[in-house]
Symmetry: C2
Subunit: 416 residues, 2 copies
């Protein structure tokens, strides 16, 4: 039995206990975690400082150091998230359907936890708390493998959470930190069939691709978003400028930010200068097709095929003038990662065709793709945004960490 | 682009058309497939005879030959399945939820096809029709890779179905047969990320294991069932005999048949001889623990650990006398594949503990595990029985071949 299988065996036993808990018992543990994170603030900051020191010694970039850093505010946010989760509805136990069969058997389809969830993530220590408490609320044990850069922070946070579980009479092993952060343990998690019911990678595109390619346990793929806004011939151009600007510049580093703007040729001459004027405030680099360049001039870099395929996550926007809605749909079909896509239009027909034909988790008419988010969608909490179609698609709330079970009650029925 | 990617590209284009069809259009194609299967009966039987001849030459076993064989009756059943599916409700377009957000955006969660589904299966040519028509009804394109033993049958059936699609104005490429049945094409399907939205293996445990271990596309694992009946101290023993007999002997080769009987020590002395008397009609071999052997004598083979872990799919039953419900739960936790588990009891407390604590797709009280089946559960049709927890669990109906999409309609909303 390898290291992950050992953790998995303990986690499986803890999961069996969690599955039987009442919502109240889980909520008390969440509240205790929240309280203890605040009480142990100094311990957390000290552990985090150790990680930061090592990071500085190794010359980690400022932006990565920022992800790694915990502050009093960030700890307070984690504690607040615990209290917030305690107030959310418990997905476990919800009856999703059922009825009495012709032979008198009663079938009840009931929502239950998945069991043991694995998370592989990178340098952000707040994911340790976030993932653990979402799993706890939904009745799952969690096996957490954060990046080695955040090791001391993660160890401290996991220790606090395990203590809080013990304090409230729950099994500590419901939250397990993978303390060996070598590449081997990541591979072990990907192959831990029978121990992990799901594996969710959270982080950059490289990490996610590796997990999707190598895992034999069920995976939920999250987060890659090559999102488009299509400005139709009938669009309200002021609205279109707002939506493109919001999609590109409000927070360029996230998956629901837009990477390309497609514009119908009938309005390109008027729209593109309006758009450029707005985006100039953030010095957005435009990479455009020849027609874009004709309209906007030398400020436009010629766009390559690769530009249209790239999730820039930066102040860069690819632009293309298209002849028709069909050409826009074809372009989106070619380059979309199936995350979030938007049309700006006044035409009912164009809106309906776009929403019907675009194959993405979230398809918008006349509003910003930046809304693809668990909280914005009213899910209360978010584990991630699924870009696969199996199990969950789009923003995942607590329900995405559950499955169903059929309970069948009879009076001696046998199959004829 | 490899062979599967080529098929996948055409299938993806066909899937885009399928996703936009009305239920009526899909039903007309299903009815045409049913009609043509009957019209072309002779062609099908001739192609099947070619496969059977080759099978006989290669010395294929009688039971495998039987799976491979098509008869007028079997063809009639396939045609009937098409008509039946045409009458079922279409899962596509069903609105699963939604509402208006505080900022006025309307969110609609709507059910849509998965896109392109891959199936890898073995020598049964009826799976070719079964899988294709389930995919068609749910709006998915299908890429079908049957075993080489059934090649001529499959080619004939796929050709007929493609013709029926063309006759009714649908894209032929919605149903694609993988004509190269080498091992390489199976591997290509497992790695066809971006081309296949789901891969479902149907067949023996070896095939399923290989696909689960090697695939990087999302997989639905089906069909392994090491199922138990636990006869509680308070059980109605006549009922228990019926349920064990039905579970073991009504059709031993299927996944919802039982493989083990656990019996509480308080009733073992009375129950086991009753059970043996009934099972003797089918000459069921019993492999038991020492206490079982003490009660039933030399007719019992000593059971090994491996026996308790084996899905016999045969007239063999493992038996164990347990001291308590807890011991039964522990045994099931150790050996269950999470398919179907049953308790026979008159105790409300025992029934509730069993249904709460057993982690399986279907947990029965006082009725046979043989009911774990799409038709018995009232799903109308069945693609398979999922033994994983992600996406689908237990019998899968048409809905298991769909996903959801969020449609968001606004009036210019941007994220503050």
């Amino acid at each position: 039995m390898n290291y992950i299988e050992q953790l998995g065996t303990k986690a499986r036993a803890a999961a069996a206990v969690l599955a039987g808990l009442s919502t109240g018992e889980k909520n008390r543990a969440l509240e205790q975690i929240g309280r203890m994170l605040l009480e142990k603030e100094q311990d957390i900051l000290t552990a985090n400082e150790r990680d930061l020191e090592e990071a500085r010694e190794k010359g980690m970039s400022q932006s990565l150091q920022d992800r790694l850093r915990l502050t009093e505010d960030r700890i307070a946010s984690m504690a607040e998230a615990c209290r917030h989760l305690a107030m959310l509805e418990d997905p476990v136990g919800v009856i999703e359907g059922g009825g009495v069969r012709p032979n008198g058997m009663r079938i009840t389809k009931v929502r239950v936890p998945l069991g043991v969830a694995g998370m592989i993530y990178e340098a952000r220590p707040n994911v340790t708390v976030d993932a653990a408490i979402l799993c706890l609320k939904s009745g799952n044990a969690a096996i957490l493998r954060g990046g080695k850069e955040a090791f001391h922070s993660n160890q401290c946070l996991a220790g606090i959470m395990r203590q809080a579980l013990a304090d409230t009479g729950l099994p500590e092993d419901a939250i397990a930190l993978v303390e060996d952060t070598s590449r081997e343990t990541a591979v072990m998690m990907m192959k831990a069939n029978g121990y992990l019911d799901v594996l969710i990678p959270r982080g950059g595109a490289g990490l996610i691709r590796t997990v999707v390619e190598q895992a034999s346990v069920p995976v939920i793929e999250t987060g890659t978003g090559n999102c488009h806004v299509y400005v139709d011939a009938t669009a309200d151009l002021d609205m279109a400028v707002n939506i493109v600007d919001n999609g590109k510049t409000q927070r360029p580093s996230v998956c629901n930010a837009i990477e390309s703007c497609l514009v119908h040729r009938d309005v390109a001459g008027k729209f593109l200068p309006m758009m450029k004027a707005r985006l100039d405030a953030h010095q957005v680099e435009l990479r455009g097709c020849p027609r874009t360049k004709e309209i906007l001039g030398d400020c436009v870099t010629p766009a390559t095929e690769e530009d249209y395929a790239t999730e820039f996550l930066d102040y860069i926007l690819a632009v293309k003038v298209v002849d028709s809605l069909d050409e826009a749909l074809e372009h989106i079909r070619t380059y979309s990662t199936g995350h979030s896509e938007c049309i700006v239009t006044k035409s009912l027909d164009a809106a309906e065709r776009f929403q019907k034909q675009v194959d993405a988790a979230a398809v918008y008419v006349n509003c910003s793709t930046r809304f693809t988010d668990g909280n914005e969608f009213g899910l209360g909490a978010e584990i991630g945004i699924s870009t696969q179609k199996l199990h969950a698609r789009g923003p995942m709330g607590l329900t995405a960490l559950t499955t169903i079970k059929y309970l069948i009650n009879g009076q001696g029925q046998i199959r004829p």
